[in-house]
């Protein structure tokens, strides 16, 4: 079980917070995703793309952070070169999840003060939706870090079929891109569950 890289965690946390805040400032209004938009906004198509954009920010950020960390390591050799490779993705996932929790925490704690009165009774469903959203953010960040690792470290080293030319799960599992893809699928499932839970009554 890889542990968390402390310095990388701090850098990543600050970067995520900045990136998420920038995302909410610079994205056009109709593409900006918020939890109340789940209920008030009925434009389903835009809602989907808004969620995608919302999750794209941590994905891209963790991709860049992982690449930057590996680049930094190349320029300035560190005592344990393997450490960043094993701890980097988990650290980034944790940082992204924590950043998302930090940004949603006022809503969780001051729910009855901040939310529209007609929705105040739906605290627990929304809490569940938040949790799915946090999981989606963590997984998408993990996927981003693993994508960067796969591209930089391994390249397209193996396919999806074995020597006999047959499709094989064990070979798929060895594909460097299998990991981020599964993580992206997990993130998509969590985001859809969040949307499902937060559907207007």
């Amino acid at each position: 079980m890889p542990s968390i890289h402390p310095l990388f965690l701090i850098v990543a946390l600050l970067t995520y917070l900045t990136a998420m805040r920038m995302g909410s400032l610079f994205l056009p209004d109709r593409l900006y995703f918020s939890f109340s938009a789940f209920l008030f906004d009925t434009r389903d198509l835009e809602k989907t793309s808004a969620v995608a954009f919302k999750l794209l920010v941590p994905y891209a950020t963790s991709c860049l952070l992982m690449a930057a960390a590996l680049g930094w390591e190349r320029v300035r050799p560190v005592p344990q070169p393997q450490r960043l490779r094993s701890e980097g993705p988990v650290t980034l996932a944790f940082a992204a999840c924590f950043a998302a929790i930090l940004m949603a925490w006022p809503y969780i704690l001051l729910w009855d003060l901040l939310i529209a009165p007609e929705l105040s009774g739906r605290r627990i469903p929304f809490l569940l939706a938040y949790m799915f959203y946090f999981a989606a953010t963590a997984l998408v960040a993990l996927a981003g870090a693993n994508t960067a690792l796969a591209v930089i470290e391994k390249g397209w080293s193996s396919g999806v079929v074995d020597e006999a030319g047959k499709f094989s799960l064990s070979v798929v599992a060895g594909n460097p891109f299998a990991k981020p893809i599964v993580e992206l699928i997990g993130s998509a499932i969590a985001a859809s569950l969040a949307a499902l839970v937060a559907q207007p009554a």
Partner: protein, 391 residues
């Protein structure tokens, strides 16, 4: 391969588990008693410039569902009604609920809100469960303070005895429901608990008592020593009452600018009524005042007059309250009356006696049918009650 699909499993399993954890933390920390109808909410800009005591008092009243933030549209109307007065800070408006009628004294409402803020729901529930277990084992309720108003069963018994004595003075003989099970349950019921506080204040209060005196009485007469600078209980109750009164004033200002008949400045209240004077062959006590009931209180509406010289010159020493629609059930010795009913009677008689400058000891409530002519007179004059000078 299993490890590869771990993220998908985690995405589905982890969030519900985390919700269970955080959700239970939120339930444990829950402090709001749904005393009002709905939790009231408004815009999320929240002015922190009011001083700390006022903020705390506002929080207490808000948590109890007694006030709400004004909407943007109401804010606009308030600014129009009183230019310059409501330009700054958050405007709080009262929340109306049927349960507010369980208490008539604003101090009782404030005490209840403050007590339930200081003792969160989860703790109160735990206390109740512990007490029920002890009752099951020993057959006696432990004498702890229970419920949203934090009253001990022994105190409730004392209040009931006092209230019965006071009701007997007024002429009513009906007992108050005092079975131990019913009493224990009523301590936890918001309406009954607040009625108990209300009764204790109505029974013990003296002329000129303010929220601070009421609060001290709820503490049992002994002030809780605090360090200098620490917010004191009676101060807090006083502040909550101030916050509630201010919210009510804002509501009054808001109603002034509402469209419709109430917004019309030429509208000057209900039409004047003609008072029918009793004839010369009148044998019942002399009717002096026509009372109108608003929100559980009696207000003087009109005076019967002009009175004969010999009647008008007699100073008012005692009075009889003749209600136009008396409740027969209150006069049945065999049916116990509820806490809130007793509280309402006491409050009504307090306000009726106060309207003529008398103490509650100088007032008597007439039994239904005791003075049929006065009852008929009240009805023809549209009075909710008539205050007569007793023989």
């Amino acid at each position: 391969v299993l490890r590869l699909f771990l993220p998908v499993v985690l995405a589905i399993v982890l969030p519900p588990a985390a919700t269970l954890f955080v959700g239970s933390m939120l339930v444990i920390g829950e402090t709001d008693t749904p005393f009002g109808s709905d939790p009231a909410v408004g815009p999320d800009d929240y002015s922190g410039q009011e001083d700390m005591r006022r903020s705390l008092a506002t929080t207490i009243a808000f948590r109890a569902g007694l006030i709400r933030m004004a909407s943007a549209e109401e804010d606009e109307r308030l600014k129009k009604a009183q230019p310059g007065l409501y330009d700054w800070g958050t405007n709080w408006l009262p929340v109306f609920s049927e349960q507010a009628y369980c208490a008539t004294n604003p101090s009782a409402v404030a005490i209840m809100a403050t007590e339930s803020y200081l003792r969160p729901t989860f703790l109160r529930r735990t206390e109740k469960i512990a007490a029920e277990i002890l009752y099951g084992l020993t057959g006696r309720w432990p004498d702890w303070s229970f419920g949203p108003a934090q009253i001990k069963p022994s105190t409730a018994g004392r209040i009931a005895a006092l209230a019965e004595a006071r009701l007997a003075d007024l002429g009513l003989a009906a007992p108050i429901d005092r079975k131990s099970e019913a009493m224990f349950e009523s301590l936890h019921h918001p309406c009954a608990a607040i009625a108990l506080v209300d009764i204790s204040l109505a029974v013990a209060s003296e002329a000129g008592d303010g929220p601070k005196e009421h609060a001290l009485r709820h503490l049992g007469g002994v002030p809780v020593p605090t360090m200098p600078g620490v917010i004191e209980y009676t101060d807090m109750i006083n502040m909550v009452v101030v916050v509630l009164e201010q919210a009510q004033r804002r509501m009054d200002d808001l109603n002034q600018v509402q469209d419709g008949p109430f917004g019309d400045p030429s509208f000057i209240g209900p039409p004047q009524r003609w008072i029918v004077l009793p004839g010369a062959d009148w044998t019942e006590p002399q009717p002096r005042l026509c009372l109108r009931e608003t929100e559980g209180s009696y207000l003087v509406d009109r005076e019967f007059g002009p009175l004969p010289e010999d009647v008008a010159s007699v100073p008012l020493a005692s009075a009889i309250l003749v209600e136009s629609y008396p409740t027969d059930a209150l006069w049945d010795v065999n049916t116990p009356i509820s806490w809130d009913e007793a509280a309402r009677i006491l409050h009504r008689s307090h306000t009726a006696a106060g309207a003529v400058g008398l103490g509650i000891n100088d007032l008597r409530i007439a039994a239904p049918g005791a003075y049929p002519n006065t009852e008929a007179l009240a009805e023809t004059n549209y009075c909710d009650a008539v205050l007569s000078v007793g023989p």
